[in-house]
Amino acid sequence: MVRLAVLVFLFLQIIFVTTLSGCSGLPSASDAERHDPRQQQSTEETNVSIENDIVRLDEGEHHPAVQVLLTQAEEARQQGQHQQALSYLDRARQIQPRNSAIFYRQAWLNYQLGELQQVQQLLQRARLFLRASVANFEVLQRRIQTLQFKADAKQGY
């Protein structure tokens, strides 16, 4: 009986607190904090057919602003507007200047354009900002390595 009372009390309290924070518009900080671009990195998808490569620039989970730009970059890429795609990626990079996944995508597109010098420095940055704390970081790590091998092989290293 006491337990039940405690449970009910707790339950009511939870409801009270949620409604209070919901109505009063107190800085819940939920969305705003959650989307702080400096605290957030992208998460790569794992259930794709080719694990060591991306298929689309916009796959994976990203900060909402970065997601918008990656989608635009992918559209531009599919229309063969590569410079346009690169400029969207650079805008994404400016929003999250230390997001490994964005550097990887810049390197990936530059590789397709044969800009191997650029690929090398972008991969260096992708590796520098790779954080083990990010979910599925191994996937991104593997992809960075794969692209590195490919770029090195092309440059004859």
Binding site: G25, H35, D36, R38, L128
Partner: protein, 821 residues
């Protein structure tokens, strides 16, 4: 004859010569013919008359032919200039657009300022593009349509909600969005030599009241005449005769356009005729609408320094910080009134004259029923309100624009930049620029007062970049921030003093022979130069600080210890480090460079520190993001470049030392102000305090500040007392984000001998080490028992902080080897 002569003189063509030659030829013949004249007096009067007639006709025909040719020439000239691009358009330079997205840290103060600098008007009900307002706690912004470098975007109504200083939700037309941009602020142009600036506008975008007012005041018969108006001339003559002086011009709008567009300002009858003819031709070829549109874009409406303001679009931005469409009746009337004399009626300088003129224009408008009497009374009741000078239409960033020009000139011809209306999208952050300008202005004044200077003596410069991308966010080239002259940020070559030290310590760390716990000696140094002169650097406090941890020598900026260390690691190695950091000039391998006896501009210093800030990537500070043609074809879009010059780990290790500057050294004051010591920085003071430097970065921005005198005399300021407060103020205004580590280093306790020990075994300081460098060594006291701890060898001086007096070269430091031992 007189009528025929005028155009010939004006045309400057060969017809003039022929006409002039013919007349004396005629006269010369006359006396010769006088002899036969005497013999036959009856015949001569008729033949002379006939001859004169025939000559008159011949000349007339010649004149008409010449006039015809000239007209055809004028016509061709007129059409070639009037068709197509009528004006050379200066390149337009834009700041970075303000991107808005959930999670963005953005103060409402900044948002408001950026909107206002961008000519957005605060309103209670947001229904027009270019306005903004509040709805409870939310912000509503009606973003204008704009051609960004990468895409054209329509006008959109944005709603923003904030939570704990960040954007919480972003909606567009009720739909949640991830990202939207406010169009970038126009920050200046790259002008041709005549400095003519204008913004083009289509007639359809000009409010009808403005056109009506223009016609009413300048040329009432505009829609009825064919380029020149006899009635207008007569009326002007009448008015002028009545007044006894020139009070009215009889020129039509077409003539005014011709005068401004094709002709010079010369006042002569010949020019007047040319003007009239060209006006007729213009009316023949072009519609009244074409002519009006050209007039509205051509008209001269004022001066801003060397830059001349042309066209009503630019003028309304310049005087009222508004689009033409946003002008109210009072402003329309003032603009039209100013055409008569832009400097005489300048509302900034002569508000009373401007007001009288405006009221006159409003009277005319009411008289002609363009506006009602109520409208007239309302408009005349308004004060003359102009944009705060230095704001909105007048915001200019000369130092930044100079760098834009310089970086572009390596890829483009200056002519193309000045003439073809290119659009240049840059990296300038107006908010940071504002913070930098304000900080410099405030502190330079304060420092001067403190130094007791009674007239402007100090100068300052600053460069602010983003740490990761080397994008230049702000530049100030002088304390007079709107000054178009000598740009100290780019061109002042000043001795960098202790700003060189991180390069020395980086060289030491990179050698693998040193870490921050290495014990080095701060004993006085004496080095004999090749010419026999002695180099004997002293510490700033003229004291000897004994043996100390390497990190303390860096933090406290000790000259003697750094000089010794530099000599040990090798001067050529240090020179090599400068080159790898991106310093692209010859550095002589003299010992004095170890203490910064080399000159650099603040921009070059920025490049050097950029490598530290970016985690080892040597990057050129970059100002241009993209470049498009006037019809929006992207010419170049500049991407992130840069090679990795040092490993991130090595740089992270160096950054520990630079943070100690803030923790315990010359930058200690920052730790107290910002409540964090996660700032990497270095002070710099050159010999005799001629230069005061401060270079430092947080997690987002790197800022380099220089303070000194143009005449290179000494000042009472060190890096810490002069340039540091400016740096501090910039980051106070723009916000500071504590540094986050690039990579993880290994950490261990050391004792006073610099040995790795457990904390409880006499560990006095916890220090970072390169990853893996601790393996196999006595680590964290696990392999050394407390009892085993060494009791001999180099030991930091406990008294070092007490500053013992040193004896200068007691042992006679003539041999440059003596200090090695």
């Amino acid at each position: 004859m007189t009528t025929a002569k005028k155009p010939t003189r004006a045309s400057k063509s060969s017809t003039k010569k022929t006409a002039v030659k013919k007349v004396p030829a005629d006269k010369k013949k006359a006396p010769k013919k006088k002899a036969p004249q005497a013999a036959a007096p009856n015949k001569s009067p008729r033949s002379l008359k006939q001859k004169l007639w025939s000559w008159f006709w011949r000349l007339s025909i010649l004149m008409i032919l010449a006039l015809g040719t000239w007209l055809i020439y004028l016509d061709a000239q007129l059409r070639s200039q009037f068709d197509g691009n009528k004006w050379t358009l200066p390149a337009k330079v834009y700041a970075r657009p303000l991107s808005l997205y959930p999670g963005l840290l953005l103060s409402t103060e900044q948002l408001k300022a950026e909107l206002q600098w961008n000519d957005y008007k605060p309103v209670s009900n947001v229904v027009m593009p270019g306005t903004y307002g509040r709805d409870g706690k939310d912000w509503i912004i009606y973003r204008r349509a704009f051609s960004f470098a990468d895409q054209v975007e329509n006008a959109v109504k944005i709603r923003l909600s904030f939570a704990s200083g960040r954007i919480d939700q972003l909606t567009i037309d009720g739909q949640r969005e991830g990202l939207v941009r406010i169009e970038p602020q126009y920050i200046g142009g790259i002008f041709p030599a005549h400095h003519e600036d204008r913004e083009l506008i289509a007639l359809a975008d000009v409010p009808p009241a403005l056109v009506a007012a223009l016609v009413a005041v300048e040329d009432r018969a505009f829609f009825d005449h064919y380029g020149i108006s006899i009635r207008g001339i007569l009326r002007a003559m009448k008015a002028n005769v009545a007044a006894g002086r020139t009070v009215q011009g009889g020129s039509t709008l077409t003539q005014q356009l011709v005068k401004n567009f094709f002709l010079t300002n010369e006042r002569s009858l010949q020019r007047k005729v040319k003007e009239a003819l060209m006006a007729l031709l213009l009316e023949l070829h072009y519609s009244k609408e074409d002519i009006l549109q050209a007039y509205l874009n051509e008209v001269y409406l004022g001066q801003s320094g060397r830059r001349s303001i042309h066209g009503i679009a630019l003028a309304s931005r310049f005087y009222f910080a508004k689009n033409v469409q946003q002008l109210n009746l009072s402003e329309v009337a003032l603009l039209i009134g100013m055409i008569k004399g832009p400097s005489y009626y300048n509302p900034f300088r002569h508000p009373d004259r401007a007001r009288t003129r405006r009221d006159l224009v409003l009277n005319v408008m009411a008289e002609l029923k363009i506006i009602s009497t109520t409208e007239r009374i309302n408009a005349q009741g308004k004060e003359i309100q102009v944009a705060a000078s230095g704001r909105a239409g007048q915001r200019e960033y000369p130092a930044f624009i100079q760098l834009v020009k310089r970086q572009l000139q390596s890829d483009y011809r200056l002519e193309d930049l000045q003439n073809t209306g290119l659009r240049i999208f840059t990296t300038l952050d107006p908010w940071l620029q504002h913070a930098t300008e304000k900080s410099i202005q405030k502190h330079v004044d304060q420092l001067e007062k403190r130094a007791g200077y009674n007239k402007p003596t100090l100068e300052a410069a600053a460069v602010v970049t983003s740490v990761d991308g080397a994008e230049v966010r702000a530049i100030v080239g002088s304390r007079r921030v709107r000054y178009f002259g000598f740009n100290r940020a780019l061109d002042a070559q000043r001795s960098i003093g202790s700003l060189a030290k991180p390069a020395v310590y980086l060289t030491a760390l990179a050698s693998g022979r040193y870490d921050w716990s290495s014990i080095i000696d701060d004993k006085s140094v004496s080095v004999a130069g090749q010419d026999g002169s002695l180099w004997q650097p002293r510490n700033y406090d003229k004291k000897d600080h004994g043996k100390l941890f390497m990190v303390d020598a860096m933090a406290r900026s000790l000259n003697q210890a750094t000089a010794r260390l530099g000599m040990k690691v090798g001067i050529s190695q240090v020179v090599d480090t400068f080159a790898r950091l991106g310093i692209d000039k010859y550095i002589p391998p003299y010992p004095s460079i170890l203490l910064g006896s080399l000159s650099m501009s603040p921009l070059e210093v920025t490049q050097m520190f950029q490598t530290y800030a970016s985690g080892g990537f040597a990057m050129q500070p970059r100002v241009i993001q993209a470049l498009t043609t006037s019809d929006n074809q992207v010419l170049t879009s500049y991407a992130l470049e840069g090679r990795q010059a040092f490993s991130p780990e090595l740089i992270e290790n160096l950054r520990y030392g630079m943070q100690q500057v803030v923790v315990q050294g010359t930058g200690k004051r920052l730790g107290r102000t910002f409540n964090t010591t996660k700032i990497a920085a270095k002070t710099g003071t050159s010999d005799e305090q001629r230069d005061s430097w401060f270079a430092g970065f947080d997690d987002r921005h790197l800022a380099v500040i220089w303070l000194g005198r143009d005449d290179n005399k000494s000042t009472p300021f060190t890096g810490a007392s002069g340039a540091l407060p400016i740096w501090q103020n910039i980051f106070q205004r723009s916000g500071l984000e504590p540094l986050t580590p690039l990579v993880d280093l290994d950490w261990a306790w050391v004792n006073e001998y610099g040995q790795l020990v457990a904390k409880e075994c006499g560990g006095i300081r916890r220090m970072p080490f390169m990853r893996g460098s601790l393996e196999g060594r006595a680590f964290a006291g696990r392999e050394i028992s407390c009892a085993e701890a060494k009791v001999s060898g180099d030991k930091v001086d406990a008294t070092s902080a007490n500053n013992r007096e040193t004896s200068v070269d007691k042992k006679g430091g003539s041999s440059w080897f003596d200090w090695l031992f």
